[in-house]
Symmetry: C2
């Protein structure tokens, strides 16, 4: 990408031990990419002064921007600040801004300041302090020659707030940024190898344009990149994307950094339609995803998680006859659940799932991963059988949720489902 | 920890760009830790041959076990295998086992093999092949002097299956393992600094025992470590843990690597009690969490997500009077929701949530993050007001979910809620 390379250094025994997922690095990489700065290395090391200083030294040799997270909390196992003092030969001193922020933090929350918090007003000489709106440990920025070092505590909400509001505006002081174009085609319902086959000829004809196929749990992303702003190249690049878009049209649900539930919710909002959901196989996951979107209540009226036959009958009006004849895991039950929840909530459309999420519950005819999903509009409905075939309950639920959302999306678009 | 240090190398532009979270490293670290092998470095690098070989060389100097994920898929942007051939001077050859596995994979799924899959039967000379039960790219193991290199594709489900069933049994051939004792106290409902203050004296008296305070989104973990097996030390260590356990008793919900919904479900199963859930604030998240646990249907009958007042009235029998007088976001509504869902599902206990998840929806008296949660048994009930005060919808939902689960847990345990 650009010539400004960044390195992220994560300090944390809890990450190395596998207790914590390094979502901080993901966040930082993503924000820097958008700002035209390429992260080339992410290095995770132990909470040990030697390892920390060694990592900074290596990073200083190869990266212009070095972002460190972790080890800035109030407890004694947090040793980043002392390492900074050593590494930059910058003794710790009381910092007026840090002291003020800390006082305000405790005053606002009407909580007394503990003794260990008091150590948090010390910062290395020469450090610029970034206020922490969420917690007590401030962010710190040091620079040396043309290298910039930023340090944040490891708590994601704290780091994110300081990174966005504190560091990002500061970066323009330090770096020029190149022009980078990126484009995303996000697909679901087709395997990576089939996807590649469908477009491999045109991809080979455009091998000068970087294109990545990135499998996710719920589909495959196609990511296009172009550095520079030369008009002819840009035009060819857009034409390349257009050809691929056309070939994969049916499978592409968005060209933005968004999830399917978000896209679907917006489609429904634009059409002024309301939604309800009846879940068994997915156990509440579809509703949880939908309600993650701000303003979901404009579209989503609610739903039912019906884990027992009694609940399917009493709340969703699934008939005794259907449950007896075809069982709870059947196309007929899925359809009756969808119709039932739509009637109950008086919504314009609905999704319903029923199946065997596993690992238990399989029968000779109904294996783990078997799932029936129905999607209903007022005048159209569809029901499909899926065989996710995975012995992973969470993954089965995730595939069920995206399949249900995708069925409704295609029904709304008039594609065959 | 031990003297066998491992390094994880993640190859992937998608991780560096922040498109993908590196959960593979978390999984591997965690499994190796349990096997007595300490991961000391996790390094993420670009899909570039030079960067890949450079990282392997650094790792070979400092680590005994080097695990690489990514870049083994079928598409041309996957270049790990060619790098292995170079780095080990081991030309690619057709591998009989890989060929057999691939044939079986497509036969089982009744899908035709695509041309790009055919390249997957080539492996570097001398590599041991680990069969991939989930996908088409095999895992590979190479060794040189006393160093062991393992290579896996980056798709988590594929890597995990091969790591567990293929690599782990192989490791005993290569390494002796030291004795490591670890212990976990997992808390919720108390801030890290208050937690530390409550036990700081005893922690200081036992400074020879490593103890980490690890904040998570939903609480704080205390992790104790001890290397070795000396009986007196082991006894002192257990006594140390016992003292801390006693001080923090009320906040500790498990001493295992488990989540609160899992712990609660087991408590209910042991008491042969059934559960139903009514969600507004948490929008299905509690039910989604509960149904992630295999066998949840023994305990969990189902529930309702009631996002509109109509749904609260029709499905949960919340009274018009209450909605008019106190509003949907109130203690009275939360209690009526909990009672209503319990009645509707005829369950032995219930949880209900109502509030303003944000970022919209606040009123002068009812800020974003305000939430009322009720937990009911047949003969006890409790309701509490929470002010999560976060402008992050997902985080508010997560805090709401854990608070609801924790209220029911404490109610069952007879603690004050």
């Amino acid at each position: 990408m650009s010539n400004i390379y960044a390195e992220i250094i994560t300090i944390g025994n809890e990450v190395l031990a596998g207790y914590t997922v390094n979502t901080n690095a993901t966040f930082i990489s993503s924000r820097l990419r958008e700002a035209g700065i390429a992260v080339k290395w992410v290095t995770t090391i132990a909470d040990e002064p030697d390892a920390i200083k060694q990592a900074w030294q290596t990073a200083e040799e190869r990266a212009r921007l070095i972002i460190t997270t972790g080890g800035l909390g109030p407890t004694p196992d947090d040793m980043t600040k002392n390492c900074i003092a050593d590494f930059f030969n910058a003794p710790l001193e009381e910092n007026a801004r840090a002291a003020e922020d800390l006082k305000r933090f405790f005053a606002l929350r009407k909580r007394p300041m503990t003794d260990i918090n008091k150590g948090q007003i010390l910062t290395p000489r020469g450090a610029r302090v970034i206020s922490n709106p969420v917690g007590t440990a401030p962010g710190l920025v040091m620079s040396r020659n043309d290298r910039v070092f930023a340090f944040f505590p490891g708590v994601p909400a704290e780091m994110k707030a300081m990174f966005t509001d504190g560091l990002m505006p500061m970066l323009t002081e330090f770096f020029d940024r190149p022009v980078i174009h990126t484009h995303l085609l996000r697909t679901t319902g087709i395997a990576e190898s089939r996807l590649y086959e469908a477009v491999s000829d045109v991809v080979k004809q455009h091998s000068d344009f970087p294109l990545s196929f990135l499998p996710r749990q719920t589909g495959v992303d196609l990511r296009f990149t172009l550095i520079g702003d030369e008009p002819q190249t840009l035009k060819r690049w857009h034409a390349f994307i257009a050809v691929i878009r056309k070939s994969l049209h049916k499978y592409i649900f968005t060209e933005e950094e968004r999830e399917l539930h978000d896209v679907l919710l917006e489609m429904l909002r634009n059409r002024k339609m309301t939604l309800s959901v009846a879940e068994s196989f997915t156990g509440g996951l579809i509703q949880d995803q939908i309600t993650d979107i701000p303003g979901a209540s404009d579209v989503f009226l609610g739903g039912v998680v019906a884990y027992s036959n009694d609940a399917k009958k009493a709340l969703l009006a699934v008939s005794d006859h259907t449950l007896r004849e075809t069982g709870a895991v059947s196309a007929a039950t899925a359809l009756e659940m969808a119709r039932g929840v739509q009637e109950r909530f008086q919504s314009d459309c609905s999704i319903a799932t029923t199946g065997i999420a596993g690992p238990g519950g399989a029968t000779p005819n109904k294996p783990v991963g078997l799932c029936y999903i129905a999607a209903c509009l007022k005048d159209h409905e569809s029901v499909r059988e899926f065989r996710f075939g995975l012995n992973n309950r969470r993954l089965n639920k995730l595939r069920g949720a995206i399949s249900g959302l995708e069925m409704l999306r295609r029904l709304l678009n008039g594609h065959d489902v």
